[in-house]
């Protein structure tokens, strides 16, 4: 990914073309982070769009001295996804889904069949990660997929450094329990012999 600094400066100065370029530079990765956290493409798309919208409209709040742009964007995305998780417990429909029900052409990328197909082709790791509780899932996705340092994770998750570390350890242990019996028991077996 190219350095977004020049684009950020141009957008901070008001050049909307720079905002559009920034948007497309981060569109896929923001969606994928949200998808990793939520496990549902439609929800991920809405959360990612919200996060990008917020980040770009509040670009003046971005302080390059405190964090990189992607760390800042990930902080916003995680926050949006947490909101979405909380709202899942409420019996209501998101506005976008409501609109979609109201006659918009269904998007083949998000159709239930397509989602079911996608679910089938996802790995065991994916299933195991999705079965983690939300704060462990955040830790694994940010560390193993996004490759953040623990310091960055502490910023993104708004928690102490040691908490970020312990969440990754606990999440990893849980994944090991889930995944190891199918695949990596050899070492345990051997030690037991």
């Amino acid at each position: 990914m190219t350095d977004p600094t020049a684009l950020i400066q141009r957008w901070q100065a008001g050049d909307q073309r720079a905002a559009e370029a920034l948007y497309y530079q981060h569109r896929e990765s923001t969606f994928r982070l949200a998808y990793g956290l939520l496990g549902n493409a439609a929800d991920a798309e809405e959360s990612a769009q919200d996060a990008l919208n917020y980040a770009l409209t509040r670009i003046n709040l971005f302080d390059p001295g405190r964090a990189s742009f992607s760390t800042w964007l990930h902080t916003i995305t995680v926050s949006r996804c947490r909101d979405r998780q909380r709202r899942r417990f409420l019996p209501r429909l998101s506005l976008a889904r409501w609109r979609r029900r109201g006659g918009d052409a269904p998007d083949p990328a998000l159709s239930p069949e397509r989602q079911a197909e996608q679910a089938e082709t996802r790995s065991e790791v994916w299933q195991a990660v999705q079965s983690l509780k939300p704060n462990y899932r955040e830790a694994i996705v940010l560390r193993y997929w996004a490759g953040h340092t623990y310091q960055e994770m502490a910023t993104i998750l708004d928690c102490p450094l040691r908490t970020a570390q312990s969440r990754v350890r606990l999440a990893y242990s849980q994944l090991r329990t889930t995944l190891a019996p199918a695949g990596y028991t050899v070492i345990d077996d051997e030690k037991a012999l």
Binding site: G14, Y24, R58, A109, I140, Y144, V186
Partner: protein, 474 residues
């Protein structure tokens, strides 16, 4: 060695949450304890698996076309105006307040000096007005939203991944009951939608215990990067599903597993050529694979279909992989003949069983329909020599003669190997290289030492090799 490291220590080690001192203590122990090194290898394998599978799954997911800049542009413009207005207002307000304070001070002094003799008129202060510059700016931006730069930003990320499905007659009716309908993934290069050209195709086979998404990230990223740098030519990459009940078909054919050779080299190639704008000729077809015995097997068997091969981290000689056999024998504590017991075995053992399903099928032995490569005699696991011979015969070192017995030759062959992998001695790779040279088989050997184990390599050399050797013209 008095006491082994704990699970908690391994978890901290693998996730880099130890202090320097803690890590050094563990390193000292690991240096002298083979058991713990083996245990750590299991953790490393799991950590890599999480990283790669999660990466592959997320890379395969893309937002729909609904998620685009146009959808938020109007909102953004409004918020932007408010922010700019507020900022300018704040600046003007701050200026006005300073001015008022200065005037008040001046007024005070004046009054003092003039002894309050004359009243002064209050100076006119213009408070904030909406700055016209902001509106002009927004208007300008609106007119130029389709600027070349933003289009370029989208274009740079335009390679895409599609999935498709094939129903294979060659796999139908396999004894183990694996599905004949399989999903595959296709990488289409950035220019595919606009060029109208035909493209060479590389088939990328996943390894044992893994799935078709395994190579999507490393190979796709290497290709994207080299294309962006202008160092490779555009090609299509197909990621087939070679998995089965034994966690890996070995890309071979038997009544037990089905005919994977025809499924990949015949049916899938035909379907891809019919579906995409490919160059449907052997000169424009390549094959690669991680734990690349399958890729090399198909290349040796079908140079009439694939003309360029770049197997990655292949095991050229099963006989010279002592650690795996040792572990397999240690894990095999009783003869098994059912699927449930199979699932409880470690991958080292199951790889031999998967190979046996492909090379030593036995339709009279349900439910596994194969001759077991291992057996337990007097409480000790042993290899079954007649099955073991068949497994050894399937190693590339023994298949090269069959390749030379048929008339076609590969146009180019790259052996790309992580020589830092401790489970297979580097001499095995170099011996295979020497064997090919002595038989007059043209090839290149690229050895790297990542220290990461096999297959977790940079795939740029594979892309480069394909780009240099495939035929890109119709």
């Amino acid at each position: 060695m008095t006491q082994h490291l704990t699970e908690e220590q391994f978890t901290s080690y693998i996730n880099h949450t130890l202090t320097d001192a803690g890590r050094e203590t563990m390193d000292r122990h690991l240096a002298g304890c083979p058991d713990c090194r083996t245990f750590l290898a299991g953790h490393e394998a799991l950590a890599r698996r999480i990283q790669y599978d999660l990466g592959a799954d997320l890379r395969a997911a893309s937002p729909s076309t609904r998620m685009n800049f146009r959808a938020i542009a109007p909102r953004m413009k409004r918020s932007r105006r408010v922010i700019m207005f507020a900022r300018q207002s704040n600046q003007l307000m701050a200026g006005a307040v300073t001015l008022l304070l200065l005037l008040a001070l001046g007024f005070g002094l004046y009054m003092l000096i003039n002894n309050l003799s004359q009243p002064l008129p209050v100076p006119p202060v213009e408070l904030a007005e909406p700055a016209p510059a902001v509106n002009e700016e927004a208007g300008q931006a609106e007119g130029a939203s389709a600027d070349a730069e933003s289009v370029a930003a989208r274009r740079s990320d335009q390679s895409r991944l599609e999935s498709g499905q094939i129903t294979s007659q060659a796999l139908a009716g396999n004894l183990i009951g694996d599905p004949a309908t399989r999903r595959y993934w296709v990488y289409l290069p950035p220019g595919y939608d606009t060029s109208g050209r035909r493209y060479p195709v590389v088939y990328a086979l996943h390894g044992f215990w893994l799935n078709s998404l395994q190579l999507v990230t490393p190979l796709g990223e290497a290709l994207d990067e080299l294309l962006a740098a202008g160092q490779a030519r555009e090609m299509i990459v197909v990621y087939p599903d070679g998995n089965n009940r034994f966690r890996g078909s070995q890309y071979r054919s038997s009544p037990t597993v089905g005919d994977y050779e025809t499924y990949i080299a015949g049916e899938l190639v035909e379907q891809i050529d019919a579906t995409y704008r490919t160059l449907p000729q052997p000169e424009s077809r390549g094959i690669t694979g991680c734990y690349g015995n399958g890729a090399l097997h198909l290349a040796f068997k079908h140079p009439d279909v694939f003309s360029v091969a770049a197997p990655v981290s292949a095991v050229y000689d099963f006989e010279r992989k002592p650690q795996q056999l040792e572990m397999a024998l240690a894990s095999y504590q009783r003869d098994i003949s059912d699927l449930h017991s199979l699932d409880a075995l470690p991958w080292q053992t199951r790889e031999y069983i998967a190979l046996a399903a492909a090379v030593a099928p036995n339709p009279d032995k349900p439910p596994l329909y194969l001759d077991m490569p291992l057996t337990v005699v007097d409480g000790q696991a042993q290899i079954v020599p007649e099955v073991w011979e068949k497994i050894l015969a399937a190693a590339p070192v023994n298949e090269v003669n069959e390749y030379l017995d048929q008339p076609e030759r590969l146009r180019a062959l790259l052996l790309y190997q992580d020589a830092g992998d401790v489970s297979i001695p580097v001499e095995v790779i170099r011996d295979f290289d020497r064997l090919l040279t002595s038989l007059g088989v043209e090839h290149e050997l690229l050895e790297v030492d990542t220290g990461e184990g096999r297959c977790w390599l940079d795939y740029s050399p594979v892309v480069q090799f394909m780009s240099d050797n495939l035929v890109f013209d119709e």
